[in-house]
Subunit: 411 residues, 2 copies
C-alpha cells in the first residue's frame, strides 16, 4: 500500500475513504487473539472457549431412576389397571447416592427416588402417581414397558464425547455441563487489552466540575463501557495534553493489544496523532466519508492496531461502534457486526444526506416509527442519550423519504 | 388464597397450575426493589437509575468553535469564492482552554481549533478547508452565514435540564453525559441479592470429580450465571444435605431478597422443601403443567419470595428462565419477559405435546429452520448445550405440524 499520509492540519482531508474501505482494512489486518488463559468455571460466562473439551467420564456414571417411583420388572406390570391393580412386595428404598443392596426378583419392587441407582434385577421404574401403597405392598395401577424411566449410564454424556468446542461463546448451561463432567477449569481466549488514550488540553477527568473554558472528558467512560460490552478490558489514560511527545511515548510504551486515541485526529494545528502514527508506524486510512466521525483514522504501530477517534463525543461513539469496536470484537473472537438489535421501522420525516457519504442519524423509536432526533451535531452527546438508536444512510442516497422503511439499530 | 398445600410425596401432584397462573402469581407478589446505592460513574453501566438527574451547568459553558478553522465576521465573507478570495488578516490562534485575548473587527480573523472559545467580535467559523493561508493572511474561498460552526453555550445541555430519568437502563452514552455535567456519582437501584440453595445428598460441589454414585452439582454455577445476566447477585450455598432442618434453617437465616432452592421439589420421600415452605410461610403454587419443570414451586416466607426449582438440570434451567428469573428481573427493575432474542422459524419436523400442558422443546437453529433436539429428557443437560434455543408449545396444542412457523427463543 502506498503511503496515504497527508498532513491534513489546517488544510482538510484530500480524499476520504469510504466506510466500506475502512471496514475492509480492519478485517484484513485484525486477527482474533491467540493468547489463552485457564479460568475457574464460575468465571467462564460470556467468554470464548479456546479448545475442545471432551468428557473423561460417563454422565450419569451409573443407571439411575429418572422418576420418583418403584423400580420393578416391567413384565410384572402387564395388565395392571387402577381397577385391577397388581401387588408387588416392597423390599427397600433407594435414594440418590444411597443404593439398595437388595435385588429385585419377580413379585418384588424397591422404592426409588429420582437419581437413585437402579437396583439389581429391575428394568423399569413406575412413577408413584401410577401406584398406591398399603403397608409394604405396592399396588401397580398401570403397566410400564422395559427401560421406562431409567436414565442409563452415559445417557447425558458418554466418555470421550465432545462437550464444548473451541471458539464457542460460553453460556450458563455450558458451564453446567463442564461441572457435571468433573471439570474445574477451562481454557478461554484472553480478553483483548485496550489502551484508551484521551487527549486534549481542555479536558478534566470524569468526576471533575468544569469551570472557565474547561470541559469534562465524557469519552473515556463511555468508550470504556463499550469496550467491556465488546469483550475487551480497557485501561484509561486520561487526559493527555496535546503534546506530540507525550502522545508518541504513550503509544510506544503500550503493551496493550490495541490502542484507541480519542481526540487530535482532525485538521486542527494541535491534531498531532495522524503524523505521529505516520512517523512511528503506518497510517492506513485517515478520513472517512461518514458524518459525524469523518476524522476517524486507522493504522498500525509495530503491528499493533491503533484507532484515531474524533474527540467530539457523538463522533467518538459512532466511530467506536462502526470501526474500533469492530476491531475489539474481532480480537475478542466475537461477531464483528454492529452489536445492536436491528428493527425495521417507518421513517417519520425526510432525512437529508449527501451522495457518497454515510450518515449516522440518531432516532427515537415510537410505535414502529423512527423519529430523527432534531439537534444532532457531532458535539451534542445528549442527542444520543435522547435517542433510542440510530440508522445509517448509505452512500447511494442523498435523502430518505418520509414513510420509507428503514433498518434501525436500537442502542 | 386458600392453602394449596398438599403433601405430594409418594402420591404425585393433585392438580397442577398453568404456566400463566404461576406468572400471574409472580407478577402479583413481586415488586421492584426500592433500596438504592450511589456508585461512581465507571460502575454505572447496565444499572438502573433510581432518580432523575438534572444538570447544574451549561454544556458547553461558553460559545465554542465546532470546527477547525477561522473565527470571523460572517458579513466579511460575502461573495468570496476560490477564484475571487477575500483576504483577512490573522490576529492570533485560539485553542481549547486557551482563548485569544484579542477582538475581531472587520477585515480580521483568528484561527480557532475545534472546541476553542469563540473570540470576541466573531459570529461565525469558516473551516480550514474553505480557505488558504499565506503568511499572516487568510484567503477566504467561500462565504459563511452568521452563527455557522459555532456551538453556543448550553447547546448540548442547558442548566436545569433533565439528563437522566429514574428507572432508566444506563447505557455507555448516559455515563458520558453524566461525566460532561460534572457529576461523579449517581444513584441506582441495588441489585437483588439471591440466595441459591442447592440440595441433594448425592451432590458434590462444582470442580469435584464424581465417583461411585455421586453427581457433581451443575445447577449452582448455571443458575448463578443466569442470575447475573438478569441483574442479580447470587450467593451459592451448596450442596445442602436432604435434611428438613438444614434446609429450613438456611431459609430462615437468609437475609437475601429472594431465595431459589434447587432440588427436593418433587414427589420423592426426601423432597422436604414444599412442606417446609408450607410450615414456615405460604406455598402459593406447587406443580405446573409444564414439561420439564413440572415440580416448580413458588411461595413466600416472611414476605420473601422463595422458588423451588426441580433438581434435574434441564428442568432447573427452564424453571429459572420462565419463573424464578422473571422474579429476579422484576426485583431488578428489568423487563420481566424471557430475555432471549425471538426468531420466527420453520419447524423441521412434527412435535408431539399434550393439550393442557406447555412443552419446552430444545431446538437447533439452521437456515431459518427449528430442528428439535432428539434426546431431550429433563436430566439431559447436554441437550441444552447442543441446542441453540427453545420453543414453547402452548396448552392449546397437542402437536405442532412439520413446516409450521414457530416463535423460537435463541439462547
Amino acid at each position: 500500500m502506498n503511503n496515504p499520509f497527508f498532513d491534513v492540519r489546517m488544510k482538510g482531508f484530500r480524499a476520504k475513504k469510504s466506510v466500506h474501505d475502512l471496514i475492509q482494512a480492519i478485517d484484513g489486518e485484525i486477527k482474533p487473539l491467540k493468547t489463552t488463559e485457564a479460568l475457574e468455571l464460575k468465571n467462564l460466562a460470556r467468554r470464548i472457549s479456546a479448545g475442545d473439551v471432551f468428557s473423561e467420564i460417563n454422565v450419569p456414571g451409573f443407571d439411575r431412576s429418572a422418576m420418583d417411583g418403584y423400580a420393578l420388572i416391567a413384565e410384572n406390570t402387564n395388565g395392571a389397571t387402577s381397577s385391577n391393580p397388581i401387588p408387588l412386595k416392597i423390599l427397600d428404598s433407594a435414594y440418590p447416592n444411597q443404593p439398595s443392596a437388595k435385588e429385585i426378583t419377580p413379585g418384588f419392587t424397591i422404592r426409588v427416588m429420582t437419581g437413585a441407582p437402579i437396583p439389581k434385577g429391575a428394568d423399569a421404574v413406575l412413577p408413584f402417581e401410577l401406584a398406591s401403597e398399603n403397608h409394604d405392598v405396592c399396588l401397580v395401577h398401570a403397566s410400564v414397558p422395559p427401560a421406562k424411566n431409567i436414565g442409563y449410564t452415559g445417557e447425558d454424556i458418554k466418555i470421550g464425547s465432545l462437550v464444548l468446542c473451541a471458539e464457542k461463546f460460553i453460556r450458563p448451561q455450558d458451564i453446567g455441563v463442564l461441572a457435571s463432567i468433573g471439570t474445574g477449569m477451562a481454557t478461554v481466549f484472553k480478553k483483548p487489552m485496550v489502551d484508551l488514550l484521551i487527549t486534549g488540553n481542555e479536558l478534566l477527568p470524569p468526576g471533575s466540575k468544569p469551570s472557565g473554558h474547561q470541559i469534562v472528558d465524557s469519552n473515556s467512560l463511555m468508550i470504556s463501557a463499550l469496550i467491556e460490552r465488546d469483550g475487551g478490558t480497557s485501561r484509561i489514560h486520561s487526559p493527555i495534553k496535546d503534546s506530540k511527545e507525550a502522545i508518541r511515548n504513550k503509544i510506544l510504551d503500550s503493551d496493550a493489544d490495541i490502542i484507541l486515541i480519542s481526540g487530535g485526529s482532525s485538521v486542527g494545528q494541535e491534531d498531532h496523532t495522524p503524523s505521529i502514527i505516520n512517523e512511528i508506524g503506518e497510517l492506513i486510512i485517515h478520513g472517512v466519508s461518514l458524518r459525524p466521525a469523518g476524522p476517524t483514522g486507522f493504522g498500525l504501530v509495530r503491528g499493533k492496531p491503533v484507532f484515531l477517534l474524533p474527540g467530539n463525543p457523538v463522533s467518538s461513539l459512532c466511530s467506536y461502534d462502526l470501526f474500533a469496536g469492530r476491531a475489539v470484537r474481532l480480537l475478542a473472537h466475537l461477531n464483528p457486526a454492529i452489536p445492536y438489535a436491528q428493527k425495521q421501522l417507518q421513517l417519520s420525516k425526510k432525512i437529508l444526506s449527501q451522495q457518497g457519504r454515510v450518515d449516522y442519524v440518531r432516532i427515537q423509536i415510537q410505535n414502529e416509527f423512527a423519529i430523527p432526533v432534531a439537534n444532532s451535531g457531532a458535539s451534542i452527546l445528549s442527542s444520543t442519550t435522547k435517542a433510542d438508536g440510530f440508522l445509517l444512510v448509505d452512500e447511494s442516497h442523498a435523502e430518505i423519504a418520509e414513510g420509507s422503511i428503514v433498518n434501525a439499530y436500537a442502542y
